[in-house]
């Protein structure tokens, strides 16, 4: 397989790259939603990220991407004896096509085995394939609502439960969900928006130099993929080490009460329903602090991730299209002033 475009070689789009890295550091964030124009490198970035992350260990032929030490009970490969050899594979990145059906996503009764051998066995779907990797949904806003519900459910619980056609199967499906779409072609329901952890808006760069650089790198990549990737491998490895180190920092991250108070105040001020926003904000702040190689969360971390963690949770104002970022930053200003004043 042709190696994907290196993550570090992506020009600009810093916010999107940052959000993706945070999601990779802290999978509990609940994925990333990238909204914006076409042709801004959304799918390139996701593919690149999967390649950037360390390879995962599993057994040969396993279709559930089982952890060798704890195989899923459904996996016939990993539970057979003798066990197949362990292999290291790139973190999977699974594309969810627009026309996907519930069968193909969740998995279903294995038709050939049922009809030809009379066996009742489960054929794993895309969710099993995406375990320990990424599920990329282009045009998530055009996907059938019941599918999106299902995906968000599985993403949140980490387990895929199939109860139909006489099958009763549960297998782990922990993946980082990345959705992308163009809001002009249809919006996501507010309930669904809320389920995504981070949300970033991307637009194509307007500056000639950046644009020319993008084209140049793309052409260099297409002309000689191998050497281009080799040139950027060092940068990618550096970033990979940073992500890994950050992952290690997360469990022991110290979060001072002032940060909790700040997040709560901010969410109250913005009128965000529910606690999911607050939780995500704190988790994102932790991931951000870990990425910055610190073991304590500061207000700065929370401030810098607040827009991407909160913007999509604001109540929609039909006239105010670009305004949600402004609203968040205004509230940020007010709240941080207040906190500073109190301290």
């Amino acid at each position: 397989m042709q190696s994907p475009f290196p993550f570090s070689a992506i020009v600009g789009q810093d916010e999107m790259k940052h959000a993706l890295l945070l999601a990779a550091i802290e999978p509990a964030l609940g994925g990333v939603l990238v909204f914006g124009d076409r042709g801004t490198g959304k799918s390139t970035a996701v593919r690149a990220l999967a390649n950037l992350l360390p390879k995962i260990e599993t057994r040969k032929g396993c279709s559930y991407n089982c952890v060798p030490a704890h195989p899923s009970s459904e996996c016939t490969i990993c539970n057979s004896s003798p066990k197949p050899a362990k292999v290291k594979v790139t973190a999977p990145i699974v594309d969810l096509p627009l026309g996907a059906t519930e069968d193909s996503v969740c998995g279903a009764l294995d038709l050939e085995k049922a009809l030809l051998k009379g066996e009742r066995s489960f054929a794993p779907g895309l969710l099993a394939k995406a375990h320990r990797g990424f599920l990329y949904i282009d045009e998530v806003n055009l996907l059938e609502d019941h599918l999106v519900d299902l995906l968000l459910d599985v993403a949140a619980s980490g387990t895929n439960v199939v109860e139909r056609e006489g099958l009763s199967v549960r297998h782990p499906a922990k993946f980082i969900m990345v959705g992308s779409g163009n809001p002009e072609e249809g919006e996501l329901r507010p309930q669904l928006l809320d389920r995504f952890g981070l949300s970033v808006d991307v637009s194509s760069p307007k500056d000639v130099k950046t644009r020319v650089e993008v084209v140049k790198r793309r052409e260099a990549y297409e002309a000689s993929t191998g050497s281009f990737c080799a040139d950027w491998a060092a940068m990618d490895q550096k970033l990979q080490r940073r992500v890994l180190a950050a992952r290690k920092l997360i469990p022991d991250m110290e979060t001072p009460d002032s940060v909790f108070a700040f997040c709560a105040e901010l969410c109250l001020r913005l009128g965000i329903d529910g606690l999911r926003g607050e939780l995500t904000l704190i988790r994102a702040a932790r991931a951000h602090a870990a990425f910055e190689k610190r073991s304590t969360v500061t207000l700065k971390d929370a401030v810098s991730v607040a827009p991407m963690a909160l913007c999509h949770r604001l109540r929609r104002d039909p006239l105010d299209e670009a305004g949600s970022t402004a609203r968040v930053s205004r509230a940020l200003g007010e709240v941080s002033q207040m906190t500073v004043g109190n301290a």
Binding site: M1, Q2, D37, R38, G39, T40, G41, S43, R47, D95, P97, L98, G99, T101, D103, A108, L109, L111, E112, A114, L115, L116, G118, D138, E139, L142, E144, H146, E165, G166, N182, E184, E185, G186, E187, R189, S203, S204, P205, K206, V208, R211, V212, V214, V215, K216, R218, E219, E222, A223, P318, L319
Partner: protein, 596 residues
């Protein structure tokens, strides 16, 4: 007769460009460049296709697919029916795999379903993975999509059209042009070089970027494509460095809306020498025409850019509006189409032996149940000894049973009534009458109706979406009128209701009864200018959300302002100076009936 000369030249230009595009496609099949060919079936299109086919290298597969192909047809999969007949696993090779590293021709591409279009888009980009059983590897093909859509018809799904770099138009070419013009195959003297080796100067790259920003709505994909095409044109010409003329050619091949009157210059890919000549010619002409306001020859890219910038407002305006309506159409096909018994979701309503939609899986238990009565006949052993479990079941394709789903399709008609001004009273009365008439009618179809009235400084929902005639009558009894016209608030409130209806799975239809002259802004101030701006903005938003609407102009003398507003919301416009309940109800009924 300069005009006719110009026309013929323009036609020749178009044809030359189309042929150049075909040469690019066939010379560099691995460059990842796909094309969109506009135009209804015509001799020109046939000839173009013949030319394309004749230049495709023999080892490259060519697969033609219809626009109604489903994702299942495109992808390889296990063929259940064939497997059963053969008694072993039989794989069906999908069109995409057959056309791997080759060409896919899609006829009537504008009718592609979004799912198929996104698969084709992935194949065009080479990001589609083959089935793991076959060892993986990406599928990459050149897509040639024949787009027969006129301006008013549904457009090619944006996910695909975005990835079709070349934009060829073979519409409106007369026979004479295509017959007399040489296809240029015989006289090409210089050998094409590897396009990857072609370099662009910094200035050219900047120009490409400018063009992409101006005409390609800033998309980087367009910019990368344009740069690629420019290098390919130069490579086809046998040059290692692209000239500005190559760039101009590339721009014409990528953007459909820039007609560059390139009269004097001969098609440049014939040979290097005429190319250089024409370059020097054009620069001379440029020097001559420095004072001339309207140069007739624009072969140079610099001029092209200036030209484009001048025409920027109109062209990009047109392009943008095209984009918008395309978005609307997409939203429509994606969200509210096809809500019938063939639906792939909804409430299951019984079984059928015929697949309700393509790609559906048979229901196993129902299939087995259907097969059981036939076992004795199908298995000779069972016929003699009686059937036992170890014999297994013999299932034939005729046993397949599928679950049918019914997706309830409901419509919510939202009336947005202008309750301002002097005619308010009579108008409101008629609107109320229309609502009641409709409700009486809708009860049968289980459609619901809502009413929003706007007057004074705000819009009120007088009637939440309801199916109850009684409730409607009660809440409509006291309906005040008069005052100013907060049109924007009215539109906003209606859109909110429509959004809610959509979330419930209903299809909203907004009926505006107004003269389109708002004078109160959303904030509640008397400000005619911002009021109308806000109204138009909201109207566009409604269109982008894919909400259908009817605009009934009730002004005594209809003004273009209302028509503009109706256009912005992509509504059907009817002028009805004398509003009557029955007329309104007839119009709306017709629309509701169309829907179901």
């Amino acid at each position: 007769m300069p005009d006719t000369v110009g026309n013929i030249a323009a036609g020749q230009q178009k044809w030359q460009d189309a042929l150049l595009a075909a040469r690019l496609l066939t010379h560099f099949p691995d460059a990842g460049v796909s094309a969109r060919v506009r135009g209804s079936p015509s001799p020109a299109r046939e000839k173009w296709l013949v030319y394309l086919k004749s230049s495709i290298p023999n080892e490259r597969p060519l697969v033609r697919i219809p626009s109604n192909c489903t994702p299942e047809n495109l992808r390889s999969d296990i063929d259940v029916v064939a497997s059963l007949v053969a008694g072993r696993i039989t794989r069906r090779v999908g069109s995409l795999e057959r056309a791997n590293r080759g060409y896919i021709l899609v006829s009537m591409a504008e009718r592609l379903e979004a799912a198929s279009a996104s698969l084709l888009a992935q194949a065009a980009e080479g990001t589609l993975q083959q089935d793991t059983q076959k060892g993986g590897g990406a599928i990459r093909s050149v897509i040639v999509a024949f787009d027969e859509a006129g301006d008013e018809q549904p457009q090619l799904p944006a996910v695909l059209s975005e990835r079709l770099v070349l934009d060829v138009c073979v519409d409106g070419l007369d026979l004479k042009t295509i017959e007399t013009m040489d296809t240029g195959r015989g006289n090409r003297t210089n050998q094409p070089v590897d396009w990857q080796q072609v370099t662009l100067s910094d200035k050219q790259q900047q120009q490409i970027s400018d063009l992409a920003v101006l005409l390609g709505s800033g998309s980087l994909r367009v910019q990368i494509g344009l740069s690629k095409i420019a290098r390919m044109v130069a490579a086809l010409d046998g040059r290692n460095d692209a000239t500005d003329s190559h760039l101009a050619h590339a721009a014409r091949l990528v953007f459909k809306d820039i007609a560059i009157p390139e009269v004097a210059e001969a098609p440049t890919e014939d040979a290097a020498t005429p190319d250089q000549q024409s370059d020097s010619q054009s620069s001379q002409q440029e020097a001559d025409q420095n004072t001339d306001k309207f140069p007739e020859t624009l072969s140079d890219l610099e001029d092209l850019l200036v030209n484009v910038q001048a025409a920027n407002a109109s062209i990009t305006g047109a392009l943008n509006s095209d984009k918008k309506s395309r978005a609307l159409r997409n939203a429509k096909t994606g969200k509210s189409g096809n809500r019938t018994l063939k639906s792939s979701r909804g409430r299951p309503v019984g079984l059928t032996a015929k697949a309700p939609f393509s790609g559906v899986r048979p229901n196993i238990s129902a299939t087995l149940r259907a097969a059981i009565p036939w076992q004795r006949l199908r298995n000779p052993v069972a016929l003699q000894m009686g059937w036992t479990a170890d014999l297994g079941l013999r299932i034939s394709p005729t046993d397949f049973r599928f679950v049918r789903f019914k997706h309830r399709s409901e419509t919510t008609a939202i009336f947005a009534v202008d309750a301002s001004g002097s005619t308010a009273l009579s108008r409101l009365a008629e609107a109320k009458g229309a609502v009641e008439l409709l409700l009486a009618d809708c009860y049968v179809r289980r459609d619901s109706v809502a009413l929003v009235a706007f007057r004074g400084t705000s819009a009120d929902t007088l009637l939440e979406p309801t199916r109850s005639l009684v409730r409607a009558k009660r809440s409509l009894a006291a309906l005040p009128g008069g005052g100013a016209t907060p049109l924007a608030s009215g539109i906003m409130r209606s859109l909110e209701l429509a959004e809610h209806a959509k979330q419930r799975g209903q299809t909203p239809l907004i009926v505006y009864l107004t003269d389109g002259r708002g004078n109160i802004s959303l904030a509640g101030n008397v400000d005619r200018k911002s009021a109308s701006e806000e109204a138009v903005q909201l109207a566009r938003q409604g269109a982008a959300l894919g909400i259908r609407s009817i605009f009934i102009d009730i002004a005594a003398r209809p003004k273009p302002l209302a028509l503009d507003l109706a256009k912005a919301m992509e509504a059907e416009y009817c002028a009805l100076p004398h509003v009557t309940a029955s007329a309104v109800s007839q119009i709306v009924s017709r629309h509701l009936a169309e829907k179901t």
